[in-house]
């Protein structure tokens, strides 16, 4: 397993793979790897000749006052976890090489980035789209893998990839959960014992709401009510940022008029337990 630290080295590695006709699977991460990441890495290893995992805590996707500085970092532990999984290269670029002095270029997916998490994290998805495009240009993947826990991120990246005519396939991977249902997330490490004990109620609220999805509940906005009531059982809950039923393509809230035959429904929440912001979602057919 090769460790690559610069963009030009990464491009050389990938051009070598492409010249010999090998497919490249790419798993971009911010490190602090958990079983959710490792499941995605395994998917890539299965489907591609070569797998590249990047670890880069991207400063431009953190808004002012967010947890960029305290975001968990464990490069040695991450590399150890990946070394057991037939990963071919770990790409660990420095902040200075990704955003050198005088950096000016940003990608925006307008009309999707401002919704849901975007309302609460101004500039977040421009930071995500920009760094993902830069990483794509460095790694030149055949397929790139993203976890559906970050649902809006998946929608934004898929749209950017189609809009910019990028010659690669986006593969979306199911959310991996702890045994009690809590979606795996590097930010779960922030939770106190009490908060951690209550956190599985998020997934419980989502599954409760999912059972109630029907034309009538969507018309009457009952899904949002069910979610808010279930979530409010948590004593450590400090804020619900959003919790409702959404159109999985437009990310608009489904408030009135119900849904058309065969349309999927996204049930998604963002909330704070104590000072820790967590998100989760499920899709209902």
């Amino acid at each position: 397993m090769q460790l690559i630290r610069t963009i030009s080295e990464m491009q050389q590695f990938s051009k070598g793979c492409k010249l010999s006709g090998k497919t490249i699977g790419f798993v971009p991460t911010m490190g602090a790897l958990h079983d959710g990441h490792l499941s995605i890495v395994r998917d890539s290893v299965k489907a591609n000749d070569v797998t590249v995992v990047s670890i880069f805590v991207n400063p431009t996707q953190f808004s002012a006052g967010e947890d960029f500085n305290r975001y968990p970092r464990d490069y040695d532990g991450d590399i150890e976890k990946l070394s057991g999984l037939s990963v071919d290269a770990v790409f660990l670029p420095g902040v200075d090489s990704v955003y050198p002095d005088g950096y000016k270029t940003y990608v925006e997916v307008r009309g999707l980035s401002e919704k849901l998490c975007g309302q609460f994290r101004p500039g977040h998805f421009a930071g995500v789209a920009t760094v993902v495009l830069k990483l794509f240009n460095a790694v030149m993947p055949t397929r790139a893998y993203f976890g559906l826990k970050d649902y809006q991120q998946c929608v934004v990246i898929k749209k950017m990839t189609a809009d910019l005519n990028l010659d690669l396939e986006i593969v979306l991977c199911p959310t991996i959960r702890e045994h009690d249902g809590l979606a795996m997330s590097s930010r779960n490490a922030y939770l106190s014992t009490e908060e951690r004990l209550e956190a599985p109620l998020i997934y419980k609220a989502l599954t409760e709401a999912a059972k109630s999805v029907n034309d009538n509940s969507l018309k009457t906005n009952a899904i949002a009510q069910i979610l808010k009531e279930s979530l409010s059982e948590m004593k450590t809950l400090t804020e619900i940022q959003y919790a409702s039923a959404y159109d999985p393509n437009t990310l608009d809230e489904i408030k009135t008029g119900g849904i058309t035959e065969g349309q999927r429904v996204l049930i998604a929440v963002a909330l704070k337990i104590g000072s820790t912001r967590l998100i989760d979602n499920i899709e209902v057919d």
Copy 2:
């Protein structure tokens, strides 16, 4: 010479070239080709195994009220001009294939796009950067060619290419002029006989100003004065949008403090003759 009309066909063509180890030179144009374009095409043909010329009048780089609809189009004439020049492929995508319904993704080079022409053409350089990135992703060039007549466009595209880690070289080509000094431009076709007779005064004003570039004239803002006086000799002049000495990297006006040893100076103007907007520039060492 192949005519290619879709992005996927273009990508197939270019991947074929790359697999056989050929270099691809790319000349993006909005058509209405003149000798300035053809000179750039010849540069590409000389330096690359394969040359692709695109013709696409890009709607997103025209601001509201600008000349998108009346911009000169002569596809048959353009193809005839290119067929004599050993061009391998002409890429003529339709607006619907470049910007399909629901298109949302834009690239911005912040801090360069708002200056000079950007002040008068809001959104112009986001449109330029976006379409150029999309064309790059379709054509996958080894080298891409741009004319220095559109100086700010050159600066924006070079910055985007570096910032996004695009694996290609940007080649900037000198401005080609009519015998009387007028910079070649598809928009010269808008000029009336009287306007066309006066238009060479733009280049004359630039060369006059260039002769006066020295530490003192820059300190005292004399370049802008010389330009404005010279340009005002045109009876058909209706507006000077900008006319001064600029830092060729930052595009900031050089107003005070003069220049450092060896620094180049950009002298640039944008103005209207009648209702036709024209730009020109020269660089001074």
